[in-house]
Amino acid sequence: MTELLQINGLDVDFPTRRGTVHAARGVSLTVKPGEVVGLVGESGAGKSTIGNAIIDLLEAPGIVSAGSILFEGEELRGRTEDQMRRIRGDRIGMIFQDPQTSLNPLMTVGAQLVETIEKTTDLTGAKAEGRAVELLEQVGISEAKARLQAYPHQFSGGMRQRVVIALALAGDPDLIIADEPTTALDVSIQAQILDLIKRLCRERDLGVIIVTHDIGVIANIADRVVVMYRGEVVETGDVAQILGDPQHEYTKSLIAAVPRADRKLERFSSVDYIEGGTQPFERIDIQTHWLGQSRDHRGTAKAIEVNNLDLSFVLQKALLKRNRKMLQAVDNVSFTVTEGETFGLVGESGSGKSTVARLIAGLYRPDGGTIRVLSQDVSSKPSSAAAREARRALQMIFQDPYSSLNARMRVLDIVAEPIRFYKLAENETETRRIVGDLLNHVGLGAQAALRYPHEFSGGQRQRISIARALASRPRILICDEPTSALDVSVQATILNLLKDLQQELGLTMLFISHDLPVVRQMCDRIAVMRHGALCEVSDAEQLFNAPEHEYSRHLLDLMPRMDLLKEAPA
């Protein structure tokens, strides 16, 4: 028998008061030694549940209700807690998503390693410490001996994830389950961690299960792929086949929704397998509708002008100015967005791209430099009537669909707020009609108006946010990572909606994202940011084909290679 792990017909149930949720139904998969199996699916697919079920650490009230889990030929179901404890760490290692929270903040890294080594092996004392140093070296941490005395908060995010991996390896396990191991990390670090996992897998002949939502991760590391949808495995195959020639309808939709980095498409291919996605609602005729009015006064060529923008945050307070630790969040940034174009702002986390967006939106005040919106200076006198009037033409869509809507207000009141506040409608009847039209137009349906935000999924909430932004009849829309919290299939529909709106209404769009393929699909021109400063501003196609700045090239190199992807119909 060559299978390291063999799962057959696994059912996992979560009994709740609203009935039993079947998190996994009839799941079967196998893992061989030295093989990386990618377990891929969108939120709610039940992929993390499988990992937790294997080591019997399901969150309450989850239970494995049927099926078998054979590990090295032995059944893992029905073991006592003591028996499972000897398997966890010793024979099956686990890596979690967020290295910030996976380590005990009050214990040194060395102590946590030694404690795990002493538990999983016969080594004790100085020998265990020696082994800890070896492990840290193996996961690529330099000066390992000295770093044993360090606490987790003294490591960077990527380094912490290396420590987590070292801990998972401490018992010399045969199988590693990595649950979204790179999701919380920056792109450049993601690649390193994935390489490390792959190298360890090959060197030690480990079986690895990578649980992820990210097709890019799968393309980079997996040998075989298991695709899950709503608790069931819909397709299993090797990575080239799944990405290049998917069989199941869901997999086809999923793969088609992945934004392509290699060339620009007019629209994302429509994803029809996804429930609750696009629904055919009556769209309004922009020419005659309220939404299309008052947008005839075009003529200013420049929608947003930013000159020598500066902003720094105080990191550590001190009485004396020179002792303060400051972070130069935005450093002498200048660019111009012409009316009607989509302007992309890209960079890794901490590059200052969101800060620039918030400066333009007036949420922060700059330390220096000027911001002009529709030729009106909004930075020097932000509370003047003219500046406020200009700002009203500018609205913003946020990243987190869960915190961007007030949970205690009905959708009607959320969307109607700007209409009521600025008295943009004649009366309440008209307001309600407009809100209904807007909700129809963004593909949600007018009857959503009387519900509360928590009744909607992430993608639907993002549509509500868009409707709210439209209710101010804006001419400029700032989108701050509008889809990075969404599943890839939902992302495609939201991005299509934004494209449509932009064309219909002639909106100017400032599109902020860390996701280069998305940016390529959406933007006309792109600015690359790093450490608060602009690296280069280029036309989108030029940036992707012939980047000028060294950092741009670096970013492009880090994009997951997707050459396995099926040629999508253009």
Binding site: V21, G276, R391, F398
Partner: protein, 313 residues
């Protein structure tokens, strides 16, 4: 995993209430139901004390010293018209307890309301405006928290009484106590509200409201305040229990409600003097009434804290 089911029609208000996790948790927690019932009964009994109580303890015509110090009805020497016995002045214990409880609840609730209004207002302003305003408000709260609440209440109460001429001291005692306890309560509310406000103010829906151009006061009132009320509600419930205890403590120390219109604390203080001579019921019944009342409110607050904390659910 299809739990969030968007239905064809919006739920009615009643359906939404039943579907609400907190209501559900309430209906499935016997402790919470018992606590709520006791609290409700206690509040009703005290509000309607004049209707329920067999006697009016403040009406000299209904009090006879001959009936003084009678034990409860079931003990030898007790009389059936005084089920819980009488006190040293011949007042019916049951009636005085009902009237006393009424006063205790009233003072407690009024004090909590005062502290809450003050604290929540300052807390929201502090959290939303930030900067110097925040620093000043919070430093004051810090300094006040440096002195334990009950001590401060005694102090404020003592100073308040000292300002009043002796003749009217008793008449105004209730208000002085309310103000003393209310003023000691506000930092708790302010701190919690400030914390919640800062969390909410950083959320994107508040930023969206700012971008729409709503003025600060409207954002605070319409967006932030309703979202900070949950923790405030928990504190207010636990605060009510503490305020009732604080009032009882002040009165017990002789600093609070005067014996002419006794609260539960005053009754216990008066009864305590007769404890050694074996007249236990004059202390015992008011004490039990007080403890049951506070316990019920605490039980309610305890359940509420668990139910409103999504992490522990």
């Amino acid at each position: 995993m299809s739990l969030d089911r968007p239905q064809d029609r919006p739920m009615t208000r009643w359906e939404r209430m039943k579907d609400n996790d907190i209501v559900w948790s309430f209906l499935h927690s016997p402790g919470a139901i018992i606590a709520a019932s006791i609290t409700l009964i206690a509040i009703l009994a005290c509000v309607f004390a004049p209707l329920i109580a067999p006697f009016d303890p403040f009406d000299p015509a209904q009090i006879s010293l001959w009936d003084g110090k009678l034990p409860p009805a079931w003990i030898e020497g007790g009389q059936p018209q005084y089920p819980l016995g009488t006190d040293n002045q011949g007042r019916d214990m049951l009636s005085t307890i009902l009237y006393g409880g009424r006063l205790s609840i009233l003072v407690g609730a009024a004090a909590v309301c005062l502290g809450m209004v003050l604290g929540v207002t300052l807390g929201v302003i502090s959290g939303y405006v930030g900067g110097v305003t925040d620093a000043v408000i919070m430093r004051i709260a810090d300094v006040q928290l440096t002195i334990p609440g009950i001590l401060l209440a005694i102090l404020i109460n003592g100073i308040g009484r000292a300002f009043l001429p002796i003749e009217v001291r008793d008449d105004f005692a209730v208000y002085v106590v309310i103000i003393a306890i209310g003023l000691t309560d506000w930092p708790q509310f302010a701190r919690v509200t400030r914390g919640a406000t800062m969390v909410e103010a950083n959320k994107e829906y508040v930023q969206a409201a700012r971008i729409i151009g709503l003025p600060g006061w409207l954002i605070m009132m319409r967006h932030i305040l309703p979202n900070t009320l949950r923790p405030v509600l928990v504190i207010a419930t636990i605060g009510l229990a503490l305020a009732i205890i604080a009032e009882a403590t002040l009165s017990f120390l002789g600093q609070g409600i005067p014996p002419t219109t006794p609260s539960l604390g005053t009754l216990i203080r008066v009864g305590n003097e007769y404890l050694f001579s074996g007249l236990w019921w004059i202390t015992f019944f008011p004490a039990i009434a007080l403890v049951v009342l506070v316990f019920a409110v605490n039980l309610l607050g305890d359940w509420m804290r668990d139910a409103l904390n999504p992490k522990l659910r």
